[in-house]
């Protein structure tokens, strides 16, 4: 009987240790509640509003910038997409049915394998199958109106005529802007909040903080353009400011930040003149 109680005590102690470590040995993060579904009012939108909505979806809910970014190299950049679309339609590798830029963009979003840019296909498929999901399905689940907004944004951003029309009729369902992404963390509300949470001020003089490990950012917007600032966050070792050492700044802010947050911080820094 003594052995039995020894074994029971040992079992409970071991389980208690695992439970104790999980409760007190690691930080307890309260996950954000699931996103609520809301409606977007299209009725009162101008084309500018519609393009801006497309940009927000492109960088937020659509999760497009997760792959279409200059750092990871996982997917082609889309800054010239409106201009190259016509060439792709004429390419013998094109397997779709689109006849114009707008149609091509729509097809790329819902049937990404219709044309796969060389070097970006799924492994072993000879660039015939795209790794990109259909954005109208799955957990991205863009509505037709949201897809139209993204197309409008892509056309506008690549400098071609915006041919999309703002959908009329019923308002499409779309998720709220205050949406959670991947790991359930809510988006930071402002650049200041993001920088505070990420501890930028521990190393930089910025947002009221006085860090000295990295360059002073008090007037960074007067010296550097937005592209430089974005690159400095995503790939800190790409340009090292004079007098500072490489490998001081974490290289994975690109993974920690959602695209919208990144742009918010870039906007904020660009405004520090």
């Amino acid at each position: 009987m003594r052995q039995f109680f020894s074994v029971v005590a040992f079992t409970l102690l071991t389980i208690g240790f695992f439970a104790g470590f999980s409760n007190f040995g690691i930080p307890q993060i309260e996950p954000a509640p699931p996103p609520k579904e809301e409606k977007i009012a299209l009725g009162a939108m101008t084309m500018e509003d519609f393009i801006a909505l497309g940009e927000r979806i492109f960088k937020g809910k659509g999760t497009c910038t997760l792959c279409h970014n200059p750092v990871g190299g996982r997917a082609p950049l889309l800054d010239q997409i409106g201009k190259v679309a016509a060439k792709r339609l004429a390419d013998p590798r094109y397997k779709g049915e689109a006849r114009d830029v707008e149609g091509y963009l729509h097809e790329s979003l819902v049937k990404p394998s219709a044309y796969v840019v060389k070097g970006f296909g799924k492994k072993g498929t000879g660039d015939t199958v795209s790794p990109m999901p259909d954005v109208s399905g799955g957990s991205i689940g863009l509505s037709e109106a949201e897809i139209a907004a993204v197309i409008a944004y892509l056309q506008s951003a690549s400098g071609v005529e915006v041919t999309v029309e703002i959908p009329a009729g019923a308002e499409p369902a779309a998720k709220a802007e205050k949406e959670t992404a991947g790991e359930g963390r809510p988006l930071y509300a402002s650049a200041e909040e993001a920088m505070r949470e990420l501890g930028c001020g521990a190393c930089h003089k910025v947002a009221g903080e006085q860090g000295e490990v990295g360059p002073d950012l008090t007037h960074i917007g007067a010296k550097r353009d937005r592209a430089y600032l974005r690159r400095a966050i995503l790939d800190p070792n790409a340009d090292i400011a004079e007098g500072f050492e490489p490998d001081q700044m974490p290289p994975d802010y690109g993974e920690q930040l959602y695209a919208k947050e990144l742009e918010m911080i870039v906007d904020y820094l660009a405004g520090l003149k």
Binding site: T11, F18, P34, G138, G182, G184, P250
Partner: protein
Amino acid sequence: MNGPRRSRTARGGLRAGLLLLSALMALLLALPALSGALGLANPALAGEASSAASEVVGNASAATATPAPGAPKTTLADYPRIRGVNSRVLVWLVAQLHLWFAAFVLAVPIFVFIIEAIGMKTRDKRYDEMAYEFIKVSITAYSLTAILGGLLLFSLLVFYPQLTAYLTRVFKESMFYYALLFFIESAALYLYYYGWHWLQGPFAKWVHLTIGLVLNAAGTTLMFLANAWVTFMMSPAGVDSAGAYLGDPWAAIHNYLWNPINLHRFIANIAYGGSIVGAYAAFRFLTATRAEDKAHYDWMGYTANFIAIAALLPLPFAGYYLAAEIYAYSQQMGITLMGGIFAWLFIIQAVLIGTLFLSANYYLWCGMGRSEGAARYNRFIKYIVIVLVGAFLVWFTPHTLVLTNEELKALGGPYHTYLGPLGIMPAKNTAVNIMILFTALSFLIYRRANRVPTVSWAARGNAIQVALYGAGILNIFFLGIYHGYFTNTVYKVASSIPQVMTTLIVIAASLVIDAFIYRRAREIAPLRWGRIPDRAQYALFLLAIAFTWLMGLMGYIRSGIRQHWHVVGIMRDNSADAITPTLGFAANVVSAGTILFMALVIFVFWLSELGARKVQPAGYWQE
């Protein structure tokens, strides 16, 4: 057990293991054909199924056909509540308990089959007796598994009726055949167990072994089918974007994550079954009073630990394959898995896996005390300890630290200057490969404990093994450092496959060379079974507890990465419990489940020996 017998045993075990693996692989390959035979993948039948909805409205015309309904869109009212019952925690606990028992009762027949085959090959009756004792332990657990399965089904019907109805609609064929397979499995199990002493002899033993194969084939197929329902919820297939079933059951079963989970669970079950049976042997060892009983249960504990370690070594690779496939299926799901709140789960996992490796090694080192010949190798143990603890600490190092602003300022960033680089995946992959290599080394040393080689080339063979290990370790470090710190982020995990291959090649080659070196080896001091300290038995308990707890934790993350979806992207969870719980809460549920499971397992152990107890009540019965 003497040296030559051990060699024969190893060969016999290897052959039997290969036979079983081949059979299961054949089963896996045959599943598409099997599914075809059962009508699961019959296009004609699929067409019939998809048009089933339209047939409901009659045969008026094709134009009036009603499309198959999509996944239900639920509201809070669709989730019945019972006062005083937390439905999510209840379903969670019951599902987890069912899974623990199912893993145990599926795994035990696999290695019972192998041990029986070894007994047949070596004609050593002790193997047959041990195999019988193993299956005796699992027979009671079998009915508990079925009871818990029933309880899970009723809980799902009561608390998640819409989800259950939807899954039943998609998987009606496989659920039906799943129930039928139970008859085959039960019949095979009862024949296998009750016919054990009946089916003895040259031909009858083959018949008995064949029944064991049927039992394992049925059990494994059952698991594969149930896995399909679980993986469908993570990576749905065979339905359109609204969740409407397209009528091809095989497409729904053969979804993206099905095979990675099948492989992972198959290996993990064997390791888990080994650890639970090890705990049984340890308990019987501690309570035994006769020397021969202690010797028997010591041998049983050693065998169970061997099985657990043999399956534990490839398990991290299977886990890595599963994680990589999750990433390949959905980058977003992959990021949820490895980042955010779940990132800290992997620190808990590191503690548990560190516990598993250290306790398994500790048991082997204690076991070296069975032979005086092991004293030659004692000096190496401390170095293995240092390496294992070092590797564990690397695995344990978090990447991003949760710090206050003051701490951030003091540290100069969210990463520790020197320890921060150890938090990334390439460093952890390197650590786990080294841990596995040195666990295999512990086993190699244990194998040699009581023997000296007689072959003339023993010294050269030994040197080749040392060189293999040296080159392997160098390669693992080079790959980890190069890919981890000198390449782009995208290529950071590219080191994992060649690292795994290096580890597997080194272990396999070393074992083969060792087997040849110790062929016809001379025994210098016999292995005295039963001569092992009591504390070694606690290492076996630790192995079983850590395994159980770890399975519960990983079950939480596998389910948790679906977030607020019942079926990812298809059917949203709109219940009050759709929120992901904190790790502390999950750990408490897992702990409560582990305590319940352990209590039930002790009950099962007690029942398994109850049959042997006999009382003669004096004066009760008429003479």
